[in-house]
Each structure stands twice: as C-alpha cells, then as structure tokens.
Amino acid sequence: MSILPFPSFLDDIKDKGFKKAIFEGINEVVERSTAGMNIQDIREALRGEAPTRRPNPRLQPHADGFWLHMRPSYFHKDMTGLYPEFRLGWLSTYFVFFETITGLLLMVWYTPSPTVAYGDMLNILGNVPLGQLMRDLHRLGAEFMVLIVCLHMIRTFMTASYKKPRQFTWATGVILLLFTLLLSFTGYLLPWDQLALWAVTIGASMIEAAPPAIVGENLNLLVRGGPDIGANGLLRFYLAHVLLLPAFLFIFTGVHYYKVIVHAHSLPPQKENIGEDTAKRVPLDKRVYFIPDVLTSEMMWIAVTTFLLIVLCVWFYHAPLENHADPQITPLGTTAPWYFLWVQGALKLGDKVLWGIIFPTVLLVFFLVYPYLDTSASRRYADRRFGMSLCFALVSMITFMSYMGLPEYGVSTAPSTEIIYRMRHEPTHGAMGILLPVPFDQLAPGVYTTRQFEGTEEEADEIVAALNAELDSFSFQTLDADRNPQTTPLRDFISGQLGLTHSPVVGSSLRFSTVPAASPELIAVMEEFEHELEAEGEALHNAIGIIAISDVQGTLRRADVLIVWQEVELEGSKPVLDENGEPNPLFNEDGSPMMRIEEGHTFIHRDSSYYMK
C-alpha cells in the first residue's frame, strides 16, 4: 500500500529505510544526468579500474548523452601523445570556445557606434574590473587562434592526413581557416582607434579591386556600409563579428569535427601500410577510452592553456589601443594585420586585381581542391618529396611575401618625413616617437639645434652662436601667394613654420640656444636626431635639425620638430652621387642654395605618462 494515493519516494523509504532510499535516489539522479554512469561507475573509472558492469557504462554517455555524442568513446593509443598532432586541432577548437566566452563578456560593455565605441574601450580598460584582462585575453586568443589554425593546416599537410578518405575534412578545414581570418579581421575595427580604422581601410580597399568593377564597387559598399568606413561600417563589422561569422564558424566546426570522427584521426604515416587506412580499426589493447583518460587529460589541457594565456596577459601582453580613429588623418607606417601582410606584399608586385584578388582566390581554391588533385596512395614522408617541397615552398613564399608587406619593403618615404616621424609619432604598433618619453620638466622652452652636437661639448656654445650669426645672412627663395619667387631670410622662414601664435617663446627674433644640462634626456634625443640626420646626409645635405619647445598652457607644451636642408639632385627618391660619392646640391637662379624645410609637432602634457611606460 502506498502512503500517498500514488507510488512515491516515501514508499521507498518505508521499504528500504531512509539512508538506503536517499542513496539510491542520489545514485539515480547521477546516472540520469551523466546519461548512464552511476556513482559506482564513476568511482571505478577514477580509480583506473575496469568497468564491472555490462554493457560498459562508460560508453553510455557517448551513445545516449548529448554532450559526448560527437566525441569518440575511445582513441588510438598512438594518437593521444603530442606527436603526430601536437594538439593543434584540439587547440583550435579550444580557441573557438575561448574567444566566444571572452567575446560575450566584452559585449556586455561595448556599443558598436563611432561616438561611443572608443569611450567603451577606455571604460573597459580603466573602470571595468578585469576588463583589461578580458580584452587582452580576447585579442591574444585571436592572434593565437590564427597561428594555431595555420600550424594545424601545415601539420595535416605534412602527415598527408588530407588523403583519401579525408579529402572533404581538409576542405572544410580550409573554409574554417578563411572564417578564422575573417573573424580576426572584423574584430580589428571594433576598438575604433587609428590602428583599427586604417588597417581595415587598407584591407577593405582590396575588396574594391574584385573584378568586374561593378561587383567590386558594390561589395565594397556592402561591407563598408558607405563609400567610407563610418557608423554603418562599424555596425556591419560588429554584426559580422558577433553573429554571422561565428554562426558559420560553429556550423563548419561541427561539419569538420563530424568528419574527423567518422574517419577517425589518421595514424602516424609510418604506423600503417601504404594505401591502408586502419584508423577506424583500433585493436583492443590500443584503445584509450575517452572516459576517464581523454576527458581528464583534456580538462588538464584546458586548465594549463587558460593559465598560460592569463599569465601572458597579466605580465607580458597588453592589447594595443591607439588614438581615437580619425578618418581625416592617416598615421605613417599603417599596415594590414600581420596575417594579411602577405596580401599586402603581393599587392606590391603589381596589379591590384591580379595580386589582391585573383592570387589569394587561386591560392584558396588550390588548397580546397588539393586533396582531390594529389591522389597518390603513400602517406610516408619519404614518398612525398614533391608534396613536402611544395609545403616548404608555400610556407617560405607566404613568409617572404609577409616580409614584403612590411612598410620597410619597397615603399620609400622621404628621409625627412621618416626622421620627423621617428621623433614625434604617437604610440603606434607598440612604439612611439623618441621625444614623447622625455619627462615634462626636462622639456625646457627654447629653440635647440642638432648642430650643437656636431662638435665637442666645449664647442657647443660657439657652434650655436655661429649658427645664430649665420641665420642673419642666410636666405633662400620661396614662392609667394602669387607664385612669384621671393627671397626669404631663413630666420623668418623658420619662425613662420614654427607658427608664432603657437610659439610665444620663439617670438619675432629666432635664436638658438644650447640644450640645458638639466635636461639629459632631451640631450639624448637631440644626439639621436643628429645621428639620424648624419645617416641620411646624402639626401639631406647640410641638414639642420631643430626642436622648438614652447609653453602653450601652463601644463601643456608644444614641441616642433623641423629639418632644414639643401635640396640635392634626386633620381626617383635617391640622391644622384658624383664619382666621389658626393651628392649634387642645387642652387636657385640667383645663386642662393635651394633650401627645403619639413615640420612636425606634438603636444606633451605634464600628466602624460609616456615616460612611465
């Protein structure tokens, strides 16, 4: 007889006693929630004993449960070590989830609008507890994910795991590589800083080159949401980054992993006969069961990898954040993200359509169909000399093309622009102008020249006095408003360039002074400036480097960096040298030297913490 009008737990207690009924109840809950393993089964597994029940309860979660339905119930013993897979595929999957979790957390504090996005970044960095850590983890994880996915691809190629029957698995992997790159690239824009805006502008400029013109132009408009990246573009990149691309990535990760399980992990090439695929037929003594061995090992790897990432982000890596995006000013030395440098390098080879669109597309299609082209049976390293050579050739080519994509390769900037940039540029790509870290107190107002450092320390006063004297008689030609040549004294010209309104210290009578001894860091900067001018002495003939520091407001100083030099005969951007290796200085019609000047400036605030970094 039931206690209640229907059978209940109370009856169990009545029949078996309280303790036993409770234990059996808990045991049943455990067995149901693990989809087949009760407490005894779990304890046996953890103790490393063989299962005592039949059918094997450790296979039940794979057969009946959702979470493990796509994980194989056992692996081949040869596949659980580091070689031959180096855990690269596992790590790629790890980063898919890692990026999803850190990304979702960042979304809590982010709004995709140009008016607030950058402010949100500052808020995440400065106000949100663990905000900076979360951003660093997300950014570092993204960089690692691109790297790991590429390495995974190289490994798969090396061990010829793309061969029959795994051709399609490889093809879905190539698609995953593409989505990984696109995800990383779309995420680049979201902080809405200068690096983001211009790196993405350069990347998106390539889309525009897609032939025919009408397709390229409209694709460009669709991606940017306008002729220019603005509010629409940011929103589109955001939506692609958090919805569209992750959706595709998850679907293809599923397809890819399903195929991996269907065919099983390919064994190391030397472990099976040529032309055989024995991965599915794992002898009983070679089986490593997922529960408990692989499961616990993976939990350990998740902990170790996450720990390493956190260590890196706490002590060694911080995601860069530059100045607020400014669609009107392009910073010098802008490049695409590192994993797209190879495309930028290819672009330098010639036609934008051929190298920016056709070449990457051909490469991608080649990777996609490669397993269907290479149908040779052997997976042994020794039998694959062509394949191996191709692999190394492609890796070398991509590496070299990435090098070609750097600003240093094949693009010449005027040496004067380059030097001024190195003196004063805002923090970009983890570096900043050498003038910026000089402590505010050492930036004594005054006009200083590199000439001072051409002689010994004792001669400094004399050299500067001589330059001041020379300035009175030094003049050259410029064009006036009506484009008529006009003789301008160098003194007036420099004063004009410095902008009198900004530089009360300069006033109408420009006089150089020696750098105060109390400013050792400014002296070091001036010496470096002098060395750089000397190194470019051929193009910058008789160059004078000038740094003028003026008070703008009580706590803000303006530093002007100028280079004045005599124009030399140029061919392209290189100076023409005579037989003695000397450049050929140019003169105006009236015999005065043809002078050139270039200026750049920066503002330094007393509370700016450049020098503390």
Binding site: W198, T201, I202, A204, S205, E217, N218, L221, L222, R224, G225, G226, P227, D228, G230, N232, P327, Q328, I329, T330, P331, L332, G333, T334, Q344, L347, K348, D351, K352, P407, G410, V411, S412, T413, A414, T417, T478, L479, R483, G572, S573, I597
Partner: protein, 195 residues
Amino acid sequence: MATAASAVVERAQKKQVVVEVAAPSRREFLYYIWGASIVLLLGEATAGLIWFALPRFKEGEFGGTFRFTGEDIPAAGDPPLAIPAGRFHVAHLEDDRLVTLYGVCTHLGCLPKWDEGTIRFRCPCHGSQFNGDGTWITGPAPRGLDRFRMTITFTDGEVITQETGAPVALNGREIASLAIDSSDKVIGPGQGVTL
C-alpha cells in the same frame, strides 16, 4: 572454365544494366518546376537582400551630392578647396580648368595632403605625389587621384555635366553653382598621363 564462363555471364549482365528512364510523370515534372521556382525565389531574395543592405546617400553627406556657389570656388591657381566632409578637393587650376579630386590615395587608401610649397599632393603613408589636377607624379600609387562627376551651372545659364570627371575648361566664365556627386568616383588617369 567455369569461372571464365561466369565472368562472361557477369559481363553480359553488366551490359544489360541499362537503366531505363521513363519520361517524367506529371508529379515528377511538377516537383522540378516547384524546385526551379524555389531556386528563383532564393535568387530574388538574395537580390532583395543586397538591395536592402546597400547604403543610401544623402545630400551634403559623403556619398551624396554637394552643392557650392560660385563664391565657394577658389580662384584660378589658388590651393584646392578641401571638403573634409566629402573627402574631396575642388581644384581650380592655374590654366582655369576645374576638377574635383577624391581625396583618397589610389595606393592603399590613405589621405594625401596639399603641399603649397611644392604645389602638389603628398601622401603621408608611402610618399605618393600628385599634381593639382590629380595626375600622378611619383610614388607607389598605381594611378592619379580618382575624380568625382560635376555639374557646373554658369552665370550665363549654361549647364555642363562632366561625366568623365576630367578637368573642365572654364574659359574665364563665372560659375553660378556647382554640384558634385560623391557617390561614384571615376577612376583617375594612369601613371604618366597628363591632362
């Protein structure tokens, strides 16, 4: 012998395996038509999606039309008028021609600045240089600056619509108004081309 004979039989049987395909029944045919209409619908949906997502342009915003009066236009030979909101420069050249230049470098999308000292545009990124009429001087840019189409209304009532984006000779006439369409740029002249 037996195996050879069976092989012959097998081969004969293989030859006989000719799948006879009946003419499509009404039901089968209607399924194909239905399938084709789904494909068509998907195509239409894609076209609709592109139409939906293409940006719209407004008057006075980048991508839309900009209007100027004669007074806004710089005098011949003056520095080009920079319109940051539209990312273009209106250049009134010394020989009294007018051209609208898209302010974005044809190399990799940076913004060249006008340098009055040397009378040219200089790109801060990779040092490309362009004349006042946008033609290429030097640097890695593949071509001169791109242009925008202009519609010029003169004070004498004549209206010129410049479809090619090439400089328009004003021949000393006064401009009443100028409309610049910044939605669609015209590819600039190649290296070495002077106009």
